[in-house]
């Protein structure tokens, strides 16, 4: 054993990662590998949308109303330029999906990070300080949990529309959306982090740091935070899927991103109007894309949870 560990420290971090239990369990789960590939595909195409997408749906000069409502490439009356057909304004469905996924993922990521920062900070403070502050933060969390997340997001979005002037709201719509989705998700982080902090703060390494004389902020940042991050990463993965869904729901309801810069939810809503007039592809393909994206992220999250919890192995 001693020899093995000695070798481990000599290796680079890449070699150690390849040797880790996490990578091992990843390689043994085909479902996880498929979801990982899907997720990576979505991310790559979202990041490099400008180069990957065959058309730019935002470029008004390139779209023509003559191409409107063309069916997918394998159907009669289709145009080979548009693989998945076009929508009512002649935009290429495949390209809008790629650009839409980009907006969905951007909003999802940003709101997850916002939730994480808020939730982790409040959870750390709540668990470490304890007493009345802890009780206060946790009661606020309880109250918020009694509303559905989508309701809170709708509420904030509605308030923002009412309070901000119209032109300003147009500029700020993404930030409002990110804030609305993010604020509705912090509770889970706060609760998890608080629970782990309560456990960690009584461990002797924290007491050792206090004996040295180190202050609470540094103890929280350097000692406790790294040790409570495991479950947070699992929540964040699954929360990303939820955030993407919430964004899609809001956009579907017409209170999310505007139709000029459509996300997956907006696309589904636009297509929904044409579903019964036979142009099903406008809504079905963005719908499938959304399902695949969310499912892949969720499966990854499930795997991560199991792999990080040794009791389930």
């Amino acid at each position: 054993m001693a020899d093995v560990t000695a070798q481990n420290t000599q290796k680079s971090w890449l070699a150690r990662a390849a040797d880790s239990d996490l990578w091992y369990s990843f390689c043994r789960s085909p479902v996880t590998i498929v979801s990982a590939i899907l997720t990576v595909l979505f991310f790559v195409s979202a990041i490099f949308a400008n180069w990957i997408a065959p058309h730019n749906p935002f470029d008004l000069a390139s779209i023509s109303i003559m191409d409107a409502s063309l069916p997918p490439a394998w159907m009669e009356g289709s145009d080979p330029r548009f693989w998945l057909g076009t929508d009512d304004q002649g935009r290429d469905i495949f390209s809008t999906i790629i650009f839409g996924a980009r907006i969905s993922l951007f909003v999802g990521f940003a709101s997850v990070i916002f939730s994480m920062i808020l939730g982790i900070s409040l959870g750390l403070i709540s668990g470490y300080v304890g007493g009345r502050l802890d009780a206060f933060i946790m009661r606020v969390a309880d109250i918020q949990l009694s509303f559905p997340a989508i309701l809170i997001a709708l509420l904030i979005d509605g308030v923002a529309r009412g309070v901000l002037p119209r032109a300003m709201h147009q500029d700020l719509v993404f930030y409002v959306l990110i804030f609305a989705i993010g604020i509705s998700g912090w509770v889970q982080y706060a609760r998890t982090v608080r629970g782990s902090t309560l456990v960690e703060k009584n461990k002797e390494y924290v007491q050792a740091a206090r004996v040295i004389g180190i202050g609470p902020l540094i103890i929280l940042w350097r000692h406790i935070l790294p040790n409570v991050m495991g479950p947070v990463l699992v929540i964040a993965t699954i929360h990303l899927a939820i955030a993407v869904i919430t964004e899609a729901t809001l956009s579907f309801l017409g209170v999310g991103v505007p139709p000029t810069t459509p996300s997956l939810g907006t696309l589904i809503r636009i297509g929904n109007d044409f579903l019964f007039s036979g142009e099903w592809w406008i809504t079905i393909f963005p719908g499938i894309a959304l399902v695949l994206l969310v499912l892949a992220i969720n499966l990854l999250g499930d795997w991560l949870r199991d792999a990080l919890n040794p009791k389930l192995r």
Partner: protein
């Protein structure tokens, strides 16, 4: 060891090998194991953690934890092969022919069922008896294991029994179906010393009267020497020596047995150091070349010559609120430490001894400032620590007192490298001019505690318990403290590792002229380490006396009681190693 044709042993194990396959190759837990147990005999299996003791017991009753597997050898119970049976056949043997006693009586009984239900169910499963007969047998058994009023107590739930009584119930359960063989895995480790003696006597008597063979698995040489007829000593999955208890304790042949026995702290006499324990893993000796008198570690900064006490507690009181309420009259309090006063002189090792919950650790936490005392004063080097309001004002004193914790598995941050763990206090107290000097100090410290500087880049989980405790010591020494608090520093360690760590602490104490507060529940350890001892119970300090006086002429009744319960282990000593 072949079983004789005319005289067949009760249990014969031949050439046993147990492997635990893992993705990094097979771990061999037990190999080339031959053992026999005769009827009415107690065979003790002794060894340290990881030696494979428990694996033997589990293999015999067919309860090896997956993926563990017995790959070679045979197990014969009165001539019948009992290894590699299917589950149904195993269940017929388990309980009926071989009984099992586990370590923790708190978890080996079902808390939701009465003792009666558990006993009667077990009896009926193995013996063909009616409800009433089974019940009377159960009452009988409880009577035999020494439970008073068995007819009344049988209807009670496990939580209504004390720890020792529960272990008696577990023994009754193991005896339900008149087994020929009982395996006891650390049966007294979770019990108090006084209860331990009773349970061991009971097990001895039962084995003798019922002609039951027993395998007694334990890490405790004292238990073995008082109970077992024969002993098998295990080391890294192999039996290194078997013999009668008398022979093993007085004339051990194998070096490992010698090391093991000499590492047990002596309750009867203080030795300067533990005899050299050579046959033990990780026994890295400290480099000889380091002369602490001239080394930076020996140089203490900003220190004036002390005349009085280094640490002094006056009526220190600690009260915790156990129930919060807006109204003061409805609050509930727990007084963990009640008006304790004592003083520690420079260069002295002061011991605090007492049962768990007596307030020993609370005192340590009050001195280090983790808890703020609710009454009284704590003086360090003439300064009243309780009057210091800000952290900045207390910082220079924090630097001078450091602490070593009990649990080596939780006292090091698992996400930090050893170098960062040890350098943290150096940077915090600005003990080094630059990073290079801090690194140099860190490497020196690792040498001083006998780990070597290659340990710096590793993470804590790559070390064993004893090595982690050395890292803990290095961290505590990093600020060059004058006062070191050791809170049960060895109670989580194996006895041989304990001997090494205690030797290290003793060496450092005398070389650096450290003042120490040494907290332990273990009287023999206290005797080996401390100059003066305070005895605590229920938050009160009952008696303070020089160690030798306390052990030879205790004043308080409670001290006398504790000394009477101290294990009377008088094993083999190597006179040539005693200094």
């Amino acid at each position: 060891m072949k079983a004789d044709v005319e005289k067949e042993s009760l249990l014969t194990i031949e050439g046993m090998r147990v492997e635990f396959p893992s993705r990094r190759g097979h771990v061999v837990a037990v190999e080339r194991l031959d053992l026999t147990v005769e009827p009415g005999e107690i065979l003790g299996i002794v060894g340290e953690s990881g030696a494979g003791k428990s694996t033997i017991g589990n293999a015999v009753i067919g309860l090896l934890e997956p993926p563990g597997e017995m790959t070679e050898g045979t197990i014969l119970l009165k001539g019948d092969r009992i290894d590699h049976l299917d589950d149904a056949a195993q269940r017929k043997i388990r309980g009926a022919r071989i009984g099992m006693i586990f370590q923790d009586p708190l978890t080996s009984l079902d808390p939701l069922q009465t003792i009666e239900r558990q006993l009667v169910d077990t009896i009926q499963r193995h013996l063909n008896l009616g409800e009433a007969e089974a019940r009377s047998r159960a009452v009988d058994l409880l009577d035999q294991v020494g439970i008073p009023d068995p007819a009344v107590r049988i209807a009670q739930y496990p939580h209504q029994f004390s720890g020792g009584m529960r272990q008696r119930v577990v023994i009754a359960l193991a005896l339900c179906a008149d087994p020929e063989m009982v395996i006891a895995d650390e049966p007294t480790t979770a019990l108090d010393v006084s209860v331990q003696a009773q349970i061991l006597d009971l097990m001895k008597a039962l084995c003798r009267d019922r002609q039951v063979g027993m395998i007694l698995i334990t890490h405790d040489m004292g238990v073995i020497s008082e109970t077992a007829d024969r002993v098998a000593v295990m080391y890294r999955g192999r039996v290194v020596e078997t013999g009668t208890t008398q022979q093993i304790m007085s004339k051990p042949n194998h070096d490992y047995t010698k090391s093991l026995i000499s590492a047990v702290p002596r309750p009867d006499k203080r030795l300067k150091r533990f005899p050299l324990v050579t046959y033990i893993e990780d026994a890295e000796e400290r480099p000889e070349g380091l002369n602490l008198a001239t080394h930076w570690l020996g140089k203490v900064r900003e220190e004036h010559k002390l005349t009085g006490n280094l640490v002094e507690l006056k009526d220190a009181h600690m009260r915790f609120i156990t129930r919060h309420s807006l109204f003061p009259s409805r609050r509930l309090f727990l007084d963990a430490v009640k008006d304790v006063s004592f003083a520690i002189q420079p260069g002295e090792v002061f011991g605090l001894v007492g049962e768990s919950g007596s307030g020993k650790s609370t005192i340590a936490r009050m001195i280090t400032g983790i808890y703020k005392p609710s009454g009284g004063t704590i003086t360090f080097d003439g300064t009243d620590m309780t009057a210091l309001e800000s952290r900045a004002a207390a910082a220079p004193f924090r630097r001078q007192m450091q602490m070593i914790f009990q649990d080596p598995f939780s006292s090091l941050n698992p996400r930090m490298r050893v170098e960062d763990i040890i350098e943290e206090p150096i940077h915090f107290h600005k003990m080094a001019y630059d990073r290079q000097e801090a690194t140099q100090i860190m490497h020196d410290l690792l040498d001083v505690v006998g780990l070597g500087s290659q340990a710096a880049r590793k993470f804590p989980h790559e070390f064993s318990g004893g090595q982690r405790q050395r890292i803990s010591i290095a961290r505590a020494l990093a600020t060059r403290p004058r006062f070191l608090i050791c809170d049960e520093p060895t109670s989580a360690l194996d006895v041989s590792i304990q001997a090494q760590v205690l030797n290290l602490l003793k060496d450092l104490q005398s070389e650096l002229n450290l003042t120490m507060l040494f907290i332990s529940h273990d009287l023999p350890v206290i005797r080996q380490v401390c100059d003066r001892v305070g005895v605590m119970r229920h938050g009160k300090l009952l008696e303070v006396a020089p160690t030798e006086t306390l052990f030879t002429d205790p004043q308080h009744d409670y001290t006398k009681h504790l000394l009477k319960l101290m294990p009377k282990f008088r094993g083999f000593r190597m006179p040539e190693l005693e200094t």
